[in-house]
Point group: C2
Chain length 381, copies 2
């Protein structure tokens, strides 16, 4: 294997595939980046066996030569060293050549590195994801779905399936649900593609968080393919594979209360700032408990008390309040996570009793599941 490549394109591809690589893998070769050169271009692969990312650099793009190949082949190089090296190379182009015993020369200008590489045949094969139906979705919509649900997955692995986000595709709708059993986040969107099949899958929260980081906020579409316990997201020169979680996800629809005793309409940004302030003294407590009381004048009192440190109280203006008086306590972090999903819009909070979960939705939502955030209160009153 021997080729010359534009350094900046190589750096970009290295940065992308490195996102999948974990230093704590139990499979030593997965700490490396696989590089393969053929007559189409250069392909880099990184993987921690849950997530695999493949970045492709074509030989020629827009009539500009990006890669000049002298001989085909492959190698696996330690990602930690290879990444630092290519980022610091002095010239615009890099020459990479595998010599004997997987020794690899990386040279640019006057600088010349030799890295000990590994046999690319020993690198695990990526899953084949070819059978499934392709579903298209705009990247910015996908990023929103991820942001509005992924924070609610369970951080503990007692019920592994809850560390993922449940995606259900049916009747040309995608609904994404995450819950750690104390709170729940739900997002539902119509799909543009006509899908006959029904899908019910659980994608690891970590995979979605990494995918969100790698995607730029663009309006073009990304293609998803489902098959063999894998989901594949396809961009122009990037493939993102994630393992799916096994086990059946609980039916969460029955958790959402249908009877409403009180309804509060409030601006999510103003409310978020008040909760953030009320959380300042509460963070020492394990549950970050915030109390909420509706007042006669239509305001909402948010307060918190930490005996050793002090206390905080703030009255927030609401747009409207109807129904029974509310006195409720909740985890301030859960409330802030939920409020951020509404990006500053006005919201409607439906309460159905001091110890019943309450639900946040956009004000005047036509679909009750468009964005739904549910929080279970904490017993204090």
């Amino acid at each position: 294997m021997k080729f010359v490549i534009e350094r900046d394109r190589l750096v970009q591809a290295v940065n992308e595939v490195t996102r999948a690589i974990s230093a704590r893998t139990t499979i030593p070769i997965l700490t490396g980046i696989k590089i393969v050169v053929n007559d189409e271009g250069v392909t880099l692969t990184g993987s921690d066996s849950d997530i695999s990312i493949e970045a492709f650099i074509p030989l020629i793009e827009n009539d500009e030569v990006i890669v000049e190949v002298e001989s085909f082949g492959g190698i696996v190089l330690q990602s930690k060293y290879f990444g630092d090296i290519v980022r610091r190379l002095p010239e615009e182009n890099v020459e990479i050549e595998v010599t004997t015993n997987y020794q690899t020369n990386i040279s640019s200008g006057q600088a010349s590195f030799t890295l000990n590489g590994l046999d690319p045949m020993e690198y695990p094969k990526l899953p084949e994801v070819t059978d499934g139906k392709n579903i298209k979705i705009p990247i910015n919509v996908l990023k929103n779905i991820i942001r509005q649900t992924v924070f609610a997955v369970s951080a503990i692995e007692v019920r592994p399936v809850l560390t993922g986000v449940n995606w259900i595709i049916k009747e040309n709708k995608l609904s994404a649900v995450a819950t750690d059993s104390h709170r729940l986040a739900l997002r539902e969107i119509p799909l543009e593609t006509d899908i006959d099949e029904e899908y019910n899958i659980v994608i690891p929260g970590k995979s979605l968080a990494e995918l969100n980081k790698i995607l730029d906020d663009a309006s073009e579409s990304i293609e998803m393919t489902l098959a063999n316990n894998q989901i594949l997201f396809k961009l122009k020169d990037l493939l993102f594979y994630s393992r799916l979680l096994e086990g059946s996800y609980p039916d969460t629809s029955r958790l959402i209360p249908t009877d409403t005793k009180s309804e509060l309409v409030i601006n999510s940004r103003a409310f978020l700032q008040a909760i953030d302030r009320a959380s300042l003294l509460a963070r020492e407590n394990r549950n970050n408990v915030i109390k909420l009381i509706t007042l006669d004048n239509g305001q909402v009192e948010v307060s918190s008390n930490s005996p050793e440190v002090g206390n905080v109280s703030e009255n927030v203006f609401s747009q409207s309040f109807t129904g029974e008086e509310v006195k409720i306590s909740f985890n301030g972090k859960y409330m802030m996570d939920a409020l951020r999903a509404f990006e500053g819009d006005d919201i409607q909070i439906s309460f159905s009793g001091t110890m019943r979960p309450f639900v946040l939705r956009p004000k005047d939502a036509t679909n009750p599941n468009e964005i739904l955030q549910l929080i279970t209160p904490v017993r204090t009153y």
Copy 2:
């Protein structure tokens, strides 16, 4: 104590004094910020007993009212909470009132906090630094002196005096020296003020690093006063006190070789980048060993070898080389630290043998001690 103050001015002062506060202090009250209000203004103090910072906010500045005082007094509030609170307050002004039992109300707009405070009389008194002679120095010059020497102090406390920078003021010159006994950094500047006395003090490296962070790169002057084992730096509304280290600093002048066998002139930026690349594979080794060999064609070969990972080699163009061939090994991190002190300028490196320390100075320096960086080689050849 009761007053109303502009939030942004309070936030700025809190940020400044917080730099002196350490969560790991053995004196509990020092985790707090002392606030004192009198007829001149509001004074905030933070301290870890090595460094103390006092920030002053006047009642009126440029005909604008900044503080409205209702009653004088003082309080000590937990810096961790007080800082977070004032940074997040919703309105432009903050009202602070001490009620009974050192309980302190902090309110702004609709938000109201109560913090448990402590008796300000229990806060340790700051040292009196009044006797000493005032020395003026431009802030940007002071920042340079700190940056060019402080990295070379010893990180280990075996010889405590080496964790500080030795400042010698005599004959209207200030010379600053730091060494960890493997490398040495020296910077000498002429002083504008006429100083009759001689001073020989050791300032903790940590104090200088914090002072450097707190100072903006300005051309105006800062005033220094020395007395009672303390040094005081005076800005308009800010006092920065540091304890001095006890014990006599070793005479470092005899460490600097006077006989030169070879002399290399090179650009410090180009050399730094090459050393940085050569260090990429060396960092796993405890000493980060880089080898340097002068070549016949006037180039310098920089290389490093890490058997498990690979090796790196780069030829760097020099501007001139005279004298005996050089084959030397050194710690790459020490070399990078030293090269950064020259800010990209051309330098002259004087070698006096494979196992003798070598010295970096600006090219064509008129004063040999203007900027001097010394590094002791590592035995490998």
